[in-house]
Amino acid sequence: MENLKIDAELDITADVCPITFVKTKLKLEQMQRGEILEVVLNDGEPIQNVPRSVKGEGHKIILVEKRGENYRLLIERGE
């Protein structure tokens, strides 16, 4: 999994809902289909909502990983 090429990175640990998802969505929109976005987000509300919203928009979550106090998501941009 770690051999994946990460095309873009996003840190939303300073943001709150709904900006967390909005930033993720905007970032994904700038990317090409199949590219990988790495997102670092907080525990609590962001980890509860961002992955669900990302999946709902047709992207693929390929990794969810705890990293210290935060979480790290790898998202493959969908259609």
Partner: protein, 310 residues
């Protein structure tokens, strides 16, 4: 002019404190009014009332200060416009609904569609006591179905397809009720804690959590008023196409078990929810609803919400 107040109430004309004035009650269909209907209501309020409407708690609008001498003219105009008037008295009231799956990101069921179907079948039906119905698309329960005599709550049952699971633990994080725990790197679910919202399903990166049954939890016996009570589950996973039938069964059970002057809440309080469920006899209901542990889903811990007042 002699006034038949009962006839007026049936058609949504309510007596006002001021002699010779009426409040005219309109209803929306599952909470929506078109811009055209809003303009028509505004025009009627200008013409027959005092230029305002009162927004009701049941997704309707009322025009107060209608003069008794305008009754016939206004009634004719309402009919010509095709506006839906409300009702009051011992009847089935406007069926209310949240926006539901059509537009809400949390919606599991098309609550508005269901409410419109129920409204078409049940609105205005004469019953022993006023009976209120509400439909919510998911367990967030925004339409307050547990506070209605009959309530429907959209629900989905998560089923784990273990071979697809990558063991990421996200489902454990997104479950608001701590129903999921990770054991040896795989999720296990405590069904008694699961509130059937499906956050695990909608979040799962590998689609390991899949939909089992989807439908409505059917609640009966909620009310507000002076002695509030919450409804309790009498049927689980009622499919969209059997909603009317299931509500009919609740009304039938109420008819069989009720004593004079009781609302569904009073009847359930007297005979017990098990006897009421047995009378509803909805097939497919799980036995745990009868005998299982007290949990927030079955609502079996809810009795009187507040102390008796007034």
């Amino acid at each position: 002019m002699t006034i038949d107040y009962n006839e007026l109430k049936k058609g949504g004309f309510l007596r006002q404190r001021q002699k010779d004035n009426f409040i005219v009650r309109f209803r929306s269909l599952a909470g929506n009014l078109t811009s055209e209907q809003l303009r028509q209501l505004a025009d009627l309020a200008d013409k027959y009332g005092k230029g305002y409407v009162h927004v009701t708690t049941r997704q309707g609008a009322e025009i107060p200060w209608v003069g008794i001498n305008d009754y016939n003219d206004m009634k004719g105009e309402i009919k010509a416009l095709g506006l839906n008037t409300g009702t009051c008295g011992p009847r089935i009231r406007t069926v209310v609904a949240c926006p539901g799956r059509e537009i809400c990101q949390f919606g599991l069921m098309n609550s508005r569609e269901t409410a419109i179907e129920l409204d078409g079948t049940f609105f205005g039906r004469e019953v022993p006591m006023k009976t209120k119905i509400a439909v919510s698309g998911c367990p967030n329960s925004c339409a307050k179905p547990q506070e209605n005599d009959i309530g429907l709550v959209g629900a989905v049952e998560p089923i784990l397809c273990a071979e697809k699971c990558a063991g990421c633990g996200l489902c454990q994080k997104v479950c608001p009720h701590q129903a999921i725990s990770m054991v040896d790197g795989k999720p296990t679910i405590d069904r008694a804690k699961c509130l059937l919202e499906g956050n695990c399903i909608s979040s799962c990166p590998t689609d390991a959590w899949q939909e089992g049954r989807r439908g409505y939890l059917l609640y009966a016996g909620g009310k507000i008023g002076r002695k509030p009570r919450l409804g309790q589950v009498v049927a689980e996973f009622v499919p969209e196409n059997q909603v009317t039938e299931s509500v009919e069964k609740v009304l039938k059970a109420f008819d069989v078990l009720s004593q004079q002057g009781e609302r569904i809440a009073d009847t359930i309080a007297r005979v017990g929810v098990k006897a009421f469920r047995d009378e509803v006899a909805w097939t497919g209901i799980e036995s745990k609803l009868y005998d299982g542990p007290v949990n927030s889903r079955t609502g079996s811990s809810t009795g009187d919400l507040g102390k008796e007042v007034g």
